[in-house]
Symmetry: C2
Subunit: 519 residues, 2 copies
């Protein structure tokens, strides 16, 4: 964290931006283009690919804190003084005074309208997740903040959703503060909680979100008692005495099976005699499939069949899937019911959750799609991209199509003035391939849902939702997503299609930009 409050305000206020946004802003101002109405789209091109496993969807997160940032955006005198001191390679002043005065007096995001997919929704590659409309200069100045606030949380909400899925619905706790990106772990923990993680060890963030923070104890507690000659049992007893109704013991400091579990059982029996029921044990190292089977066996035999077994230590969805798979095959040989064991597991997930292990960044981009001049919107397009990367032009709407089972069957990107609900027959065009499309009768669909909502209009933001609401949204969306798309490995590709009119516009623009007639 930076040193003084005003330094933090410097690093996290209006200057929390890539420098080129400011030099471009001045250029637009100087050219009289700063008020030119413009539209930008935010979308990602690829689902996170973790190497050994891949995501088939993402979950949106981060919008609430972005909107907070936008509401408070202003250039302080100190920020302007700094820009006044910026020089070019010849030592000449880079920003003229009239521009700086404009920044001070006129600049806010009030003139922008932002439509976005709200937080906690399932979204797909290539679909516009946020659409920004307003003066070119302000829409440009928004870029860094928008990408910074949306890319990372969306990545983490997605990862959390996958971890929760691999945990088969059992409790997952975020333990990721120590390995994430400094203060960014707060945004990450919030995203994880939206995406399906139940609790976080992050105390302040949990407080802000109205959730109880969770944790057990560290190895250091046991090590202290051992170094003092008091031993692991004394450490466990001290913990149980202080937290008799929250007694969750970390049993792998000395020897999980020969010391940790036997000592925990002694304490659990003492607790029970005093009228308290223990929470369970935590296993933080070793073969956690094998050890959890042995722990279940020992706990069961001692009469603690309800005690939870918390697993932690470099876990993520793939590791959890492997552990539960191994339990399913190995537990019966030890007289342990694998399903009952899986039902009593909880997971502490830290590093791999908070850094999205294997795919540490979402490739979300913010692209100019149109400017308005002489009474019409003029689509903007960038041609050097491969066909798959050519942006979809124009001002768009995003629709989710639900089939007769109520499952999401495709997302459809249309122009803003199209309403596919009015059509008896829909054409879903592949975004790149010319002759790939499918026709769908309206009657085959149980619903068409517009996904983009106005979240920032005239300087006012949509009201924030609670974490509970956001989780419910995510759960509802996941329930309407086909299992194949949710598969942890090699998921089924969900279709994001273009309407016939949008496809036609895109082809026309590519042809015009290349100086050709449409083929």
């Amino acid at each position: 964290m930076v040193m003084e409050p005003d330094q933090q305000a410097t690093a996290e206020g209006a200057l929390f931006t890539d420098f080129y946004q400011l030099t471009m802003a001045q250029l637009y101002y100087r050219e009289g283009l700063h008020q030119l109405p413009a539209r930008f789209d935010y979308f990602f091109r690829n689902y996170p690919d973790y190497g050994s496993h891949q995501a088939g969807y993402c979950l949106t997160a981060g919008l609430d804190w972005l909107l907070n940032y936008l509401e408070r955006y202003r250039f302080r005198d100190e920020d302007l003084a700094y820009l006044r001191s910026a020089t070019d390679s010849r030592g000449q002043r880079l920003f003229a005074e009239d521009f700086l005065q404009y920044l001070k007096e006129q600049v806010s995001f009030e003139a922008l309208t932002i439509r976005a997919v709200p937080e906690g929704r399932v979204v797909h590659a290539g679909a516009p997740i946020a659409v920004v409309e307003g003066p070119l200069m302000m829409a440009q100045l928004l870029e860094t903040a928008l990408l910074n606030h949306l890319n990372y949380p969306t990545l983490i909400a997605t990862k959390a959703s996958r971890v929760k899925q691999s945990a088969q619905g059992e409790v997952v706790i975020d333990f990721g503060m120590r390995r994430g990106q400094e203060r960014g772990v707060n945004a990450g923990a919030r995203a994880a909680l939206i995406g399906g993680v139940d609790y976080s060890s992050n105390t302040g963030l949990s407080y802000l979100l109205g959730l109880p923070p969770k944790g057990t104890h560290a190895h250091s507690l046991v090590q202290t008692f051992m170094a003092l000659g008091l031993g692991e049992l004394a450490a466990f007893r001290a913990y149980a005495a202080l937290y008799p109704d929250d007694c969750l013991l970390l049993v792998d400091t000395v020897d999980t099976l020969a010391s940790g579990l036997p000592n925990a059982l002694i304490v659990f029996e003492e607790l029970r005699r005093q009228g308290h029921e223990p929470i369970g044990v935590r296993l933080d190292s070793g073969d956690r499939a094998f050890l959890s089977i042995q722990a279940a066996k020992m706990l069961n035999e001692a009469g603690f069949a309800q005690a939870r077994i918390v697993l932690s230590g470099n876990l993520e969805e793939f590791a959890i899937w492997q552990i539960t798979t191994q339990i399913e095959s190995d537990a019966p040989a030890y007289g342990v019911d694998p399903q009952a064991l899986i039902r009593r597991l909880s997971y502490g997930v830290g590093t791999q959750l908070m850094v999205s292990g294997g795919a540490a960044a979402l490739d979300g981009v913010y692209k100019l799609v149109a400017v308005y001049e002489r009474g019409e919107w003029r689509p903007a397009i960038k041609l050097t991209e491969t066909p798959a990367k050519t942006i979809n032009p124009g001002n768009k709407a995003l629709w989710r199509l639900y089939d007769r089972r109520g499952k999401a069957t495709a997302d459809l990107v249309t122009l803003l003035d199209e309403d596919p609900r009015e059509l008896a027959r829909l054409t879903l065009h592949h975004p790149v391939e010319a002759n790939t499309y499918r026709n769908l009768a309206r009657a085959e669909l149980s619903g068409l849902e517009p996904l983009l909502q106005e979240v920032f209009v005239q300087g006012r933001r949509a009201p924030p939702a609670s974490i509970t609401e956001l989780r419910s949204r995510a759960e509802a969306d996941l329930a309407r997503l086909d299992a194949g798309v949710k598969r942890l490995i090699n998921p089924h590709i969900y279709h994001v299609s273009l309407s016939e009119r949008l496809w036609g516009l895109k082809q026309q623009l590519i042809a015009e930009a290349r100086g050709l007639r449409p083929a």
Copy 2:
């Protein structure tokens, strides 16, 4: 960012911690152990492994902002009110009032002494990078903040150093704000600048560090002019008119070779006629080895042999190494001198730098190593680890041994009361393998440098160093590191050894803890 300043203070103050630190703190308080003198070590076990390439060293970063955090640490009434409201599984209050009063009145980090390797130094796996001594409760409460502030910046300083190495010393600019972990990008940019990146696009952070932020312009600038029917050339002219001495043009919006570069050359010639020299061009997509050769050829033929060619777009050390390797083999066929071309390249490195692509977390840990009781330090040890993970006990010093060439030849971990400078003959013991050691005559060494310095004593921190100083430190250390250890791929393993006394203590403790005599 969280909503209100007081909410930010909640999320980033004393409650910026894993919850179990607080429950353990209360346990130590209740057991009368809170003042027990304790020692913790911070170290990492593994160098970052990026998959296709691996680090053979790390560069320290993050300490300065950690010390800022420690100096300002206090529990506000609001924090205490929150803890007062925390309940256990039966709804009973978790934290007693006397403990909360203690937190309010007595708690600060003033009683801790922190010795650490300063920022900007080369460090190695297994060596203690920070050693904390003081009351057990405070040393425990430090854990999350210490790991959070040191792990990520050290990871990024390391990555930055590798990128700078692959850039063969040419200018590298951090473009990573948009894909990093929200506010964490400020810590990341600072670490990157310590590690060898020359500039950052992060405006506010550059301001705080006294460096000029850098950037060019985005595709959206060219797209805007094109959508208005004015074209790429008009966009370039507008940029050149406003920034005649900072003219760096992004040439890949339409067609790099057929449009971007020819248009840039027109503008560069116009600039030169007006008495300005252009900075150069930026290539953000496509085969940047091929395109940079073509760009060099065109720039050379037009008389702009000094113009820089800035490469960007998902670059990191391995990609840069591939690009320069391809230039070396392919450039001559186009009449371009490969070395001259490599000397005029600059690199904008974003996502892969800021998330440390391929290795998104450093596995730094903070482990109890000793407690003081009845007049002596009692080493703490944890046995469930594999031998390689068993911690080195006791209070330690860290020495760097330089050979006659002045190159770092090994790091030596000793007990604090050993001074290897006084020995004629040193034994460097392998940290795990019993019979692996080497003897070294003192005369074979040109120097022995103690690496751990007191950085926080009685609540006062060591004075911060400027980014310029930190970079010089890093450069000096890298110059004293063998090329094999710096190799981007499969680096030579640098030895971190134990002194004979430390090795003996470790064996004794393992044996005692296992209830055995030493073998």
